[in-house]
Symmetry: C2
Subunit: 329 residues, 2 copies
């Protein structure tokens, strides 16, 4: 039974985790999933920076927060057009400094560029920006839905797919399409220590979409590959380089090395970029050790231990079988 081309794709909350409620931004609190689907109200740039820094939102959610924070500041702005440009430049700087690894500046510089150009061209900066940002968001939304279909077409009947961390709705939605097409597929999700995004987000959203998913410890990847239990890897990425290297949640690099060792194709959802030449130039965020040494807010060990928690690792491009890019520039 083939799925109709025009039928809408069932959406996962993680696919588009930022919404407007009147003139306030609502950001899905991913740290409370799967216990609660709770949205945090964001009224200011400072609050936007906080939801990013506290990892309440992550990956694609950060992109949406950034663009919508500009809309927030535009809506709140009372002064002159020239002051609005200055305000948006300040907003951009604050967002750029929120976390090191995600390429915030690539997105904020686009908006600031639009603002400056509109001011130079003596257009209505506010109206021009609202139109541009909303058009940008709609374009990204369209291309992400197209990528969901591409992922679904990549997945064949009887495939068993390993994934890591969380691919912000796209993989779960592709799984749904596969299911509607009658494909018999299975997923292995790594837990993704220390935040368990694989358990809390990926297993949750795949299950919600009706997909069959099994959780494994991060350290069981070689075992399931050696036993022939997976035949594809699909992961997301937080940042890409000009040469194709990419950064993603810590634990992606070992999976790439193992996929090569076991001859398993390795697919990655990327946002191409030329601002950073190679992987070694990506700044890697080192998170606080307490995030590794606590569980549900409580210390896991009764003695003073030291921990090291790099938030991301960098996969050299030669490990990638195929990139599924969305150019957000």
């Amino acid at each position: 039974m083939r799925r109709s081309k025009n039928r809408s794709i069932k959406e996962s909350p993680l696919f588009w985790p930022v919404h407007w409620k009147g003139d306030v931004l609502s950001v899905l609190d991913e740290t409370l999933i799967p216990r609660r689907l709770n949205y945090i109200k964001v009224h200011t740039t400072a609050e936007a920076v906080k939801v990013i820094r506290d990892m309440k939102t992550r990956a694609f959610g950060q992109f949406l927060v950034v663009l919508n924070t500009f809309l927030l500041e535009i809506n709140r702005h009372k002064g002159s057009e020239q002051n609005l440009v200055k305000k948006l430049e300040k907003t951009a700087r604050a967002l750029n400094n929120s976390r090191p690894t995600f390429p915030f500046a690539e997105v904020t510089s686009i908006v600031v560029g639009w603002a400056r150009k509109a001011a130079d061209d003596q257009l209505n900066v506010r109206e021009s920006l609202i139109k541009n940002i909303n058009g940008y968001l709609q374009g990204i939304r369209f291309r992400r839905l197209e990528r969901v279909k591409k992922i679904a077409s990549l997945i064949k009947n009887r495939d068993s797919i390993l994934t890591h961390c969380n691919v912000s709705g796209e993989l779960a939605m592709a799984a749904r399409i596969c299911q509607e097409e009658g494909k018999d597929i299975h997923f292995f999700a790594t837990e993704t220590r220390p935040y368990f995004q694989g358990s809390k987000l990926t297993a949750w959203e795949l299950g919600r979409m009706g997909a069959s998913v099994t959780l494994i410890a991060d350290n069981a990847v070689a075992s399931v590959m050696a036993d022939g239990l997976v035949n594809k890897v699909i992961v997301g990425s937080d940042r890409s380089c000009a040469n194709g290297d990419f950064a993603n949640k810590i634990g992606t690099y070992p999976i790439a090395v193992l996929a090569k060792e076991f001859g398993i194709p390795f697919y990655v959802l990327t946002q191409p970029s030329n601002t950073i030449p190679r992987g070694e130039d990506i700044p890697i965020e080192i998170r606080q050790e307490k995030e590794l040494l606590t569980f549900n807010g409580r210390a896991t060990l009764p003695f003073k231990a030291r921990g090291f928690y790099p938030g991301f690792d960098v996969v050299p491009h030669e490990f990638i079988t195929e990139s599924l890019p969305i150019d957000v520039r």
Copy 2:
């Protein structure tokens, strides 16, 4: 400052986790470490099987439990010499069936062989066995202390050593020797999900010995290797094959593959064996999924998830730089 050859090595409780208290066996409850150093009283073979199956003891501790359980049954035996042989054969079968991956039969068959031979030779089975088992234990103890010194000599000044799960005291004791020799060394210990033996046992005992140790998530191994933060890997093993392949706690195989990828020497403490030809012939224990899906006894997820927890993986011999064997046969 060189350490005197005759000076005794400070022992870790995990080095020899089984003791006698009168005529009762005391087995260190490794699941309570680091919170408490508690010993479980074992009076019977059934209780011995239970401490093994519940993973109260593991790795080398299992070996000690097995040998001492025979002493327990010999001490308790009231009947004839011939009945004692039958009783010990029954003890051997119960121990062999406790868990699949550790080679219990290789150890129990030695003891049963001694019992049968003593009976055939019309010796005093009881006295002969007590002497043989105690001699066997003393020999193993001596060779393990020798291996501790060998590990210490392998570790050079300024080394940074990655380890996984727990090496039953030997690595921590080697670290102590290195420290006394004035070597400046560091350890990275993986958490070792889902039981956190790396956090709870390894970081604890290395710290207790005064060594410098940093915990990382299992998925951060590629990252610390790529960043040049480790220059040696030292792990233990639960079972070895005739061709040199070995099984160890799940997560060892990916570390071996990554060590090769990054050109880092990979050392393993083994117990050589010829009873199994190759790694693919090792029976791998699949533990209950609840051990993956709970943390400190509580479910980690509010929805019904499926988990897959192979307790061990198998490292092909070509990944080993050097084996440090103790022949226990």
